[in-house]
Assembly symmetry: C2
Homo-oligomer: 420 residues x 2
């Protein structure tokens, strides 16, 4: 290429990189399937309108949008939830509830590329639709944990931080902190996790609350685990839901992966109950995953009143963590058999046996050019193939081939018939 | 949804549709891997420039292109070959040849949606780079055939029509039909396959050749198999290459799937030797697959002189054929175990055994709500799950669970310990 035609923030998935992506995707998929979720997908292109419903005009700055040749205002999907809402609204009368759906969409966002953030990424989406209650929330959290375990991570590597939007909202209402301030307040609360403790009070101060209200906010932020929560003298539905969820988390044996964290409020306004984010324990990275309950969102999109919970987990932050920890399997092309022909008289038999072994799911290669046996053998060793099958006229006359195991050097004869 | 926000020509892949797509993709992937190809991918967004290199300005009408917020002229990829060329040019010095790469890119084209053509599709791309010769061409054709066989199609369903661009070009040069006319001529030739025989001569006539030249063109079109080809008194490298390829096709046992067809010339100008297209035998559809050798293309893109051959096979035409023939497996959610709890006292054990079975790759479900056993059993039958595990206090006290096989109705007791 005379000049580099790559697009900023986009990845080229060469075979070694692709195998890492595939490693993540396989773990996602296998976990979701084990939990009984069904896979779906939507198109990469949606109408711009679809994203404005949920996020208003400001979303437009963060996505790739354009007018197509037919005058349609389109956008490359930055996330899957609006597509899910659109699709569900068409079929929700026909399918039994709860719907358990997952997807691994390719998404694009027009955002500044940086550590943990690229302009194209894959995002594991897992959602339960049409089910209220903490058992469904637990299931969602359990899927997220189990796919991280499947990828080789452990409780020393990550933590699920859980809160409840109703609990937060009800707490602040009870303490006379009006609803109108929620957005700015939640920003300070979310930030409290990321900044030094002494910086939070001045930030709260700027919100213009009374000292008593400020104390209540500080008191909220000092809640550090679910026993603190249980001890809280106030009673609200969000708190009860959180305690029920933590009880289920204990039941499922997931307590070592989960903790209550009052700073988790999830910026997006559509969450209604349980909210959670997963972080690497060092918290050097953005969240690995974020999710929760969004009981009103589908109604907003489609008029369909369907409680829902789910999460999104991208491949970029997760990939960096796995890479930093050296947890990706080393990429190695797998070849079961390398076929070596002594002369081209054996070509026909070789080609037919190749197709036969391949149809059994074995990976088979050979050189396309006619080369000396030694050169063919050295190609086989270079890959390395597991076994070499040598097509020599003398053995073939006896109905046999020599099979050499390249790891042990052992040679045996195998009947030609057994290879068809 | 108050109004339908779907984008024209795009598909929503609901779980049943997704399973069909997945059925095709799995066959593609397994076949390519069995042949020793390595998977890669590029981004969906590329620079518009990249597509103009190969196809000039006219390509712009057929693709989704736009200027991004940073002023970059971008396009959604309509095909993978330019991306392949771009990626290969960066690494071709470091990797051993031949490179055997495959990909299943999601592509978008701004074309009129119709039977066999949508604006978003998946395309199986298989390429061998850095290898001359008919053995590589055979390998590519063999991959295409074997994935169709894996999908359940047979020689009664499809045929690979093969030609050679050098043969055609050399034939027409030898017969004094100048090169400048190639494009219009090839269009008539390609069309000869699709129209009634009596319509071809007038079309040839319009090209402005002499009667002798017209006869030569008709003579070319009358070649109907490889023995006709062998009998041709002229000798040219394309003809020899075709005969060699057909000899290899016989060697590999693929003669029933392949035939020589002089009308296959592949519209795109970059093909150099072997060209082929695969059709359903009824020829009611567009080509299932098209490919061939393109020895000069990579040089044009990157200055790298690398002979290459490959094909592209989309999911849309193929999906319609499989659908018409009723060859897609019926979509059925697979659940290995449905867990039934007699009371919520057994919830903890149930949740833990669920995670344990799931970590073994088994699909496990249960109701989120606490329901009477009868209702839980009826949910299990409705899916239907293969087996039900019943969590009852009495059996658990003896360290056992009742396991019921829903297909036979047989009940056995299994030790709780065996499930961890």
């Amino acid at each position: 290429m005379k000049f580099d035609l790559s697009v900023r923030g986009m990845r080229d998935y060469y075979p070694d990189i692709f195998s890492q992506l595939n490693y993540i995707i396989r773990a996602w998929k296998e976990t979701a399937l084990a939990y009984g979720f069904e896979e779906f997908d939507g198109p990469v292109l949606e109408t711009l309108e679809l994203y404005k419903i949920k996020s208003g005009e400001e979303i437009v700055n963060q996505l790739y949008n354009f007018t197509d040749k037919g005058g349609r205002e389109l956008a490359l999907r930055p996330e899957l939830t609006p597509t899910l809402a659109r699709m569900v609204s068409k079929v929700q009368n026909q399918v039994s509830k709860p719907m358990k759906w997952f997807s691994i969409p390719r998404c694009m966002r027009y955002e500044k590329p940086q550590k943990g953030r690229l302009r194209e990424f894959f995002q594991f989406n897992v959602d339960i639709l049409g089910e209220e209650g903490e058992m469904a929330d637990l299931e969602i959290i359990s899927v997220a944990i189990d796919c991280l375990l499947k990828l080789g991570l452990s409780k020393a590597d990550f933590v699920v931080k859980i809160n409840n939007r109703d609990f937060a909202a009800e707490y602040f209402i009870e303490n006379g902190i009006i609803k109108g301030n929620t957005h700015a307040l939640y920003k300070v609360i979310d930030n409290a996790r990321k900044v030094k403790k002494e910086l939070t009070r001045p930030a709260i101060n700027e919100l213009g609350f009374s000292v008593k209200q400020e104390d209540a906010i500080e008191n909220y932020l000092s809640l550090s685990n679910s026993s603190d929560l249980a001890k809280l003298s106030i009673s609200n539905t969000g708190k009860e839901s959180l305690l029920d969820l933590f009880s289920l988390i204990n039941n499922a044996g997931l307590q070592d992966y989960c903790e209550f964290d009052p700073t988790i409020v999830r910026g997006l306004d559509y969450y209604t109950g349980t909210v959670f984010e997963i972080f690497d324990r060092s918290e050097k990275m953005r969240a690995i995953c974020g999710g929760g309950r969004y009981n009103n969102l589908l109604k907003e999109f489609s008029g369909v009143d369907l409680p829902a919970c789910g999460f999104g987990m991208g491949d970029v932050v997760l990939g960096e963590i796995l890479s930093d920890k050296g947890m990706f399997p080393v990429y190695q092309k797998q070849v079961d058999y390398f076929l070596v022909r002594v002369t081209d008289n054996e070509l026909e038999l070789m080609l037919r046996i190749a197709r036969s072994l391949r149809s059994r799911g074995l990976t088979v290669e050979y050189t396309y050019k006619s080369l000396p046996v030694k050169k063919q053998m050295s190609k086989a060793s270079k890959i390395p193939a597991k076994k070499v099958l040598i097509f020599g006229a003398d053995e073939i006359a006896r109905g046999k081939l020599v099979e050499k195991d390249l790891s042990t050097g052992e040679e045996i004869e195998v009947p030609v018939d057994s290879l068809f």
